[in-house]
């Protein structure tokens, strides 16, 4: 008799379990929302690991404030060492062992492309990939929302400002030998075409290269006045340093990737001062005013100041640096958190997608983010942020605002 009761009880529990799981969306319980993320914490790309740690601190802040509609955000992030095989492994394990409601950010083009099909086939939303690649939106996917402004745009605005405002005619570019660098090259060429100019020199930089003397000699020989640096922070430091040693002092232009002025000043021992870089947020150029300075360690943007106090000071590890990589990890997921708030208590993936599509001119700590209802032929419905502005690094580690927000053009990939 006892045995019988037990089995009846077990069956009831099972039925109850089935009913419960059937009604709720995967990764969502009464009290929790499970969100996944990958990013390199080891290996040569490890400096970008701060993105995931930024997101983590941000989610902890939200939880400390009571979560979203009574649910806490449970953040599962793992190290993929920038190896796509490991990204796939991690995503599959998270999805099958725990079940994520959605994925956010995720550093890198190759790791992202490896998991894209897996996520899209299962209709799992993926929001704000942490790499400005056209692969995310061309073709657009219903469940994939880009937010990182494309590197193409950086190149457009840098060339525009360099030519129209500063009057440079001889532009050259050092570009990393990958998707990031090639986009910079393409964007610069397209923009310069408008002025009837050509790049006087275009030099690929391999990720493993450490010696920049030949590169600088080429720039010098071409008498470049303005050099665009579409490389990582380390190579920027090497290029500018080698340039200085070889008495080559053009106007250096750099991208959002190297917009972390305190870091850049530290690793160039002050040489970065005067370099103009693109920025995708962390300050509001309109509010600060063109020509005025901003200290990123003491942000003027109220929202960012709040994040520094509530997320960074309370939840980041003591070795963590308050830098752009960390804050970007917050910025990429803000639209998603906004959508979660708008959906309300009854949370499903479809509803999140519907709310994401309704986001227009959303402003967090980055630029304006807008999406549109899904249209397989329109990449712009999933592009998110398209605007950037320019800042100049100053000797004291602050940044001077040079332009207001500028909306860049999308140039589709050649097939």
């Amino acid at each position: 008799m006892k045995k019988n009761l037990l089995s009846v009880f077990a069956v009831m529990v099972m039925i109850l379990g089935l009913v419960l799981t059937a009604s709720a969306e995967e990764g969502v319980t009464d009290t929790e929302i499970h969100i996944g993320q990958w990013g390199p914490q080891t290996g040569p790309a490890a400096p970008w690991g701060a993105v995931a740690r930024g997101t983590d601190a941000y989610f902890k802040m939200i939880n400390a404030e009571g979560g979203i509609h009574g649910r806490k955000l449970v953040h599962h992030y793992f190290d993929d060492a920038y190896n796509p095989a490991k990204t796939l492994a991690g995503v599959k394990q998270l999805q099958e062992d725990i079940g994520m409601f959605a994925y956010v950010s995720g550093v890198g083009t190759a790791p992202g492309l490896a998991v894209k099909d897996y996520l899209m086939e299962r209709k799992i939303p993926w929001l704000g990939p942490s790499a400005g690649s056209r692969h995310w939106i061309q073709p657009p996917n219903k469940y994939l929302f880009n937010s990182y402004p494309l590197y193409l745009g950086d190149a457009q605005l840098l060339c525009k400002y360099g030519h129209e405002t500063m009057g440079f005619k001889k532009f050259a570019i050092a570009y990393q030998n990958d998707d990031y660098g090639k986009q910079g090259l393409e964007g610069a060429q397209k923009q310069l075409d408008k002025y009837g100019l050509k790049l006087v020199e275009q030099i690929p930089v391999n990720v493993a290269d450490t010696d920049m003397k030949p590169h600088i000699m080429k720039f010098k020989k071409a008498e470049a006045e303005a050099v665009l640096l579409f490389v990582g922070p380390g190579h920027v430091a090497r290029l500018i340093g080698t340039g200085k040693a070889m008495k080559f002092n053009p106007q250096w232009f750099s991208t959002t990737t190297c917009g972390d002025h305190p870091l850049m000043m530290a690793i160039t021992k002050g040489l970065y001062a005067g370099t103009i870089s693109a920025a995708f947020g962390m300050m509001d150029p309109g509010a600060i005013g063109i020509g005025n300075k901003e200290d990123t360690n003491n942000p003027s943007l109220p929202l960012l100041a709040k994040y520094k106090k509530e997320a960074f000071d309370k939840f980041a590890a003591k070795e963590e640096r308050w830098g752009m990589t960390f804050t970007a990890g917050i910025g990429y997921v803000e639209p998603f958190v906004e959508a979660l708030k708008r959906v309300g208590r009854d949370l499903t993936r479809e509803k999140v997608v519907a709310e994401m599509e309704k986001i227009k001119n959303f402003k967090g700590i980055m630029g304006n983010v807008s999406y549109a209802p899904f249209d397989p032929n329109d990449p712009l419905c999933r592009i998110g942020q398209q605007e950037v502005f320019l800042v100049r690094a100053e000797a004291d580690g602050t940044s001077t605002i040079l332009t207001d927000w500028f909306t860049t053009d999308f140039i589709p990939m050649e097939k």
Partner: protein, 349 residues
């Protein structure tokens, strides 16, 4: 052990009832595995199998012929790009594209084998290493291979069979792996294999016995490259997207490490080495999730190291395992297996 009296005994598979039993258990286990295991573990098994294919080939070169290669990621890349390009541009079916790409890799292996004729030890190591990193640079310049932007793998179909899931891919991959493993095993027992071994043990002696060094050394490179190429072709369909940066020097070093740690000059060695290290490579990221140990490591990081760098413990563990295996047993995992077997056979003496 009984002496083998004729050639047939040397190549025959089912040498005893016990072997027959274990092999059939293995086959049944492998067949049932994807139905009982979670999809994730099927993926892990696929990843391991691809490494096994490459390392079996590498072992033919390193373990049986006594050469060294630190450039196998190059052949791997050629196979991956070759398969994808043949399918998208020349519209080859997968089952044709894969061996053709393998043969292209073998061609490059043959070419690399030519300078290798005169080189050995560190000289050969650096020459092959150079090949490995040069080939990805060259691929990055070729337009139809997507340059630096990378290449998407097409849909994988074989006749009416659409391979969408990891399980489908598993049933394609495991037979290929077994076929290639058996092929390698049989090759070692033929004239060619014996020539390889003779070259490894004493190349001058082999030459005086009539072994054509030029032919067999380049053949060893070509065969080994073929295996790496086939592995690469399959890998492209695991990731669905390939770019030159994937096939780094680190990957070549990893293949060599798998071969040596598994145990050179044996058939089970590369299978064990590749499986173990590939598994570790994928699974070590979970190290901080282990109860007690994970918490202890985090406390350690907080107090003496940095919590932002805590994931690097993976590398420390990986390195330590390599060192421990190689210090304990120069024949690697295979050596440890032999030793354990011997110990229990002789027990309690």
């Amino acid at each position: 052990m009984d002496m083998k009296r004729d050639y047939y005994e040397d190549v025959q598979f089912f040498t005893s009832g016990a072997i027959t039993f274990w092999l059939s258990t293995l086959v049944i286990g492998l067949t049932l595995f994807p139905f009982v295991a979670k999809n994730y573990y099927v993926y892990v098994a696929n990843y391991m199998a691809i490494n096994v294919i490459v390392v079996i080939g590498l072992n033919l070169l390193v373990g049986y012929t006594g050469q060294i290669s630190m450039g196998h990621a190059g052949f791997f890349a050629i196979g991956a790009y070759g398969t994808v390009a043949l399918m998208t541009h020349a519209h080859f079916p997968f089952l044709l594209a894969l061996p053709v790409a393998g043969l292209i890799a073998a061609g490059f292996g043959f070419l690399l084998g030519l300078p290798a004729l005169r080189l050995e030890g560190p000289y050969l190591a650096i020459a092959t290493l150079g090949f490995g990193i040069t080939i990805t640079q060259i691929i990055g310049k070729i337009k139809i291979l997507g340059e630096r932007q990378g290449l998407h793998a097409p849909e994988l179909t074989i006749g009416p069979w659409h391979l969408n899931t990891d399980r489908d891919f598993y049933f394609l991959l495991i037979p290929i792996t077994i076929f290639l493993a058996v092929l390698a095993r049989n090759l070692v027992h033929t004239k060619v294999g014996r020539a390889f071994i003779a070259i490894r043990d004493a190349d001058i002696a082999a030459e005086t016995m009539g072994v054509n060094l030029t032919f067999y050394k380049t053949l060893a490179f070509a065969v080994s490259a073929f295996y790496a190429g086939v592995g690469g072709g399959l890998y492209a369909f695991v990731l669905r997207f390939i770019e030159p940066e994937l096939f780094s020097l680190f990957m070549s070093v990893m293949f060599l490490t798998m071969a040596v740690v598994g145990g050179l000059g044996s058939m089970m060695g590369p299978i064990a080495g590749a499986s173990l290290l590939a598994l570790l490579d994928l699974q070590l990221r979970n190290i901080l999730g282990i109860p007690y140990i994970g918490e202890w490591l985090e406390a350690l990081s907080r107090n003496y190291f940095s919590i932002t760098g805590v994931s690097n413990i993976q590398m420390i563990v990986f390195g330590s395992i390599l060192i421990a295996i190689m210090l304990f047993e120069p024949l690697g995992i295979y050596g440890i297996w032999i030793r354990t077997k011997k110990y229990w056979k002789m027990w309690p003496y």
